[in-house]
């Protein structure tokens, strides 16, 4: 008892169990190959490929493939006719199902590949020869949140790690002063994508791999500003004292393997305070770049700033960037239940110029080869009308279009087909798992080998599915 009286709580725990907690931690870290080092340190891929980073333009709400990239002349011929055998519960509004509806937009061939593109993309259509289209995408849910989870995490339920987390887990970060995985959402007050942070969560992966969601307004990163009244030198002295004390403690308690990492984390944090605002300073870009992205154009300047930020992040070694176009559902995103013409014109107008500029800018800087640009949403839309004063289209999980550019994909190719009216994927169907397997492959990772043990089994992004779409890889 006497001896115990001289021990404080920490020493007691340490001597009694040799720090049971610390042992558990050490073995866990070793098991994950993270021992005493930064879990975000850059790692080698399974095999060598071109793509180092990803910019995923998430076309939130469900873009209509037949009004954007999947040209269906048959729809015009059968405009107004009923679609026989159609399951009216495919979408959400079973009592508003109308006849087949032609696209309100004109399609014209573009580029050497002669790809037919909707008139809502006057700028993006100039870049079709850089794009590989997947027209035969399909997913597991006709509802926004589960479909968003499926597209981001591989399964239509919440709680699983998203693509960005898997990629960061697999490859680490190339930046020593910025987050590895960044998410930007709608800055116009239209809300977050449905399911919120579960779309960029790390699930059962260590939380270090979760996306850093830049706040749409105000300070983009939590805790980036020093406390009011404290200057840089004052904070520097704090960190110096912290380092001194930590080291003095280490001399007495040499069991703390994590100490070096802790000290380094404070140094990185100190660097981040200046590196993050610098990376976000899009107004420092020269005038011709600002104009190219549309930074001075009210219609699209919010997406322009995000695309330009994405390029600056890629240049600075950020691994994975996701930009959401649109906020929540209905008129706040590409969810064109009513007035598909007005809805898609608006959101295409917000994104066409900035995304086209991003492709051009990456290309002229020689970055497109190592940056995979991905465009697509959580599902497609139906070829039949959703009846309304101005008709729209309801959700369609059976068909969706994705395109990718750069990062080792072939330009000007189209893979897979929907049926003649764009109702369902028909030729070379590409499940969400296949899309994910392809993205991982382009980054040099075998989707069957990128695993994490959880709840007694090895989990993958692609669960038990996934075929790499080799046809679009250069």
């Amino acid at each position: 008892m006497n001896t115990l009286n001289h021990l404080n709580r920490r020493q007691m725990l340490q001597r009694a169990g040799m720090g049971i907690g610390s042992l558990g931690l050490a073995s866990l870290l070793q098991q994950e190959g993270l021992a005493a080092q930064n879990p975000l340190a850059a790692k080698n891929p399974h095999f060598k490929t071109k793509a180092k980073s990803v910019i995923w333009l998430f076309i939130n709400g469900g873009p209509s493939h037949v009004d954007t990239w999947d040209y269906k002349p048959e729809l015009a011929k059968r405009d107004g006719q009923a679609l026989e055998g159609f399951d009216r519960f495919t979408g959400f509004f079973a009592n508003a199902v109308g006849g087949l509806m032609k696209s309100p937009f004109e399609f014209k061939p573009h580029g050497q590949s002669g790809k037919h593109v909707s008139s809502i993309f006057p700028n993006l259509s100039k870049h079709v020869d850089k794009m590989a289209f997947i027209h035969s995408g399909h997913t597991e849910s006709n509802n926004h949140s589960p479909a968003l989870f499926a597209m981001n995490c591989g399964l239509p339920r919440m709680g699983y790690p998203c693509v960005g987390s898997w990629v960061t887990y697999g490859l680490g970060s190339e930046s020593d002063s910025l987050p590895a995985f960044v998410v930007m959402s709608d800055p116009k007050g239209r809300g977050l994508p449905k399911g919120h942070a579960a779309n960029w969560g790390a699930g059962f992966l260590p939380s270090v791999y979760q996306g850093t969601h830049f706040r749409p307004t105000g300070d983009p990163i939590d805790n980036l500003k020093r406390p009011t009244g404290m200057n840089a030198e004052q904070q520097r002295r704090q960190l110096d004292l912290l380092k001194t004390l930590n080291q003095q403690h280490f001399e007495v308690n040499p069991f703390e393997e994590s100490l070096a990492a802790r000290i380094e984390s404070f140094e990185l944090a100190y660097r981040m305070q200046s590196a993050a605002p610098e990376a976000l300073a899009v107004d420092k870009e020269p005038e011709h770049i600002r104009a190219m992205y549309g930074l001075d154009d009210d219609k699209c300047k919010h997406v322009a700033a995000q695309c330009l930020t994405a390029r600056r992040m890629v240049e600075r070694g950020v691994r994975f960037i996701q930009i959401y176009s649109g906020g929540m559902e209905n008129q706040r995103s590409w969810d064109g239940h009513n007035d598909i013409a007005g809805n898609h014109s608006q959101f295409a107008g917000e994104t066409d110029k900035p995304i086209a500029a991003l492709l051009q800018d990456l290309s002229q800087r020689g970055l497109l080869d190592e940056t995979l640009v991905v465009w697509g949403g959580e599902f497609g839309r139906l070829p039949v009308a959703q009846k309304s004063k101005k008709p729209g289209r309801d959700h369609n999980p059976h068909a969706l279009t994705y395109w990718m550019a750069g990062g080792g994909v072939k330009g000007g190719v189209s893979y897979g087909e929907t049926d003649e009216i764009g109702h369902k994927a028909a030729v070379d169907k590409c499940h969400v798992n296949d899309l994910h397997a392809t993205i991982l492959h382009l980054l040099g990772m075998d989707h069957e080998k990128l695993t994490y043990r959880h709840n007694g089994r090895d989990f993958r992004l692609t669960d038990v599915g996934g075929e790499v779409v080799k046809e679009i890889i250069a």
Binding site: P39, G159, A197, I221, N223, L241
Partner: protein
């Protein structure tokens, strides 16, 4: 007893008593590897990342706690006594002479560097450093 839960940072209870809503995860707990709330966890990952350091350096709640303790330390007769009380409160032990020395010169320099209220702010800066120590973050 558990309140509305989740995002109120003024909650003073230990986090084991918090009600966690899966759609409103607490940022500071997320930062420190709070387990995923939907399933039971056999073991818990532990990460050391820069955003945790930013939390200790700049977070309003952390700074407010440091200021609160600093106000108590300020009532001590001298720096040595203030440092000792700070160590006992935060780490449950007395500072070593070496630590006393490093901290005394730190507090002295910090105090002079502030135009107003230098003593209290310097003590708060010191308490904030204690919060960032590995010895505080991990129970060894």
């Amino acid at each position: 007893m558990f309140g509305a839960g989740t995002l109120d940072e003024r909650m003073l209870r230990r986090s084991i008593y918090f009600m966690i809503k899966r759609s409103k995860l607490i940022p500071s707990m997320q930062l420190f590897d709070s387990p995923e709330p939907l399933v039971s966890q056999g073991s818990r990952p532990a990460t050391i990342i820069a955003p945790q350091a930013l939390h200790f350096m700049n977070n309003g709640q952390v700074r407010a706690s440091a200021m609160e303790l600093a106000r108590q330390l300020k009532a001590q007769p001298d720096t040595a006594a203030a440092v000792t009380l700070g160590y006992q409160t935060v780490l449950g032990r007395a500072p070593t002479p070496k630590e006393q020395k490093s901290i005394a010169s730190f507090i002295d320099v910090q105090e002079k560097s502030y135009a107003n209220n230098g003593r209290e702010l310097a003590l708060a800066d010191f308490v904030q450093v204690l919060f960032g120590l590995n010895e505080f973050i991990y129970v060894q």
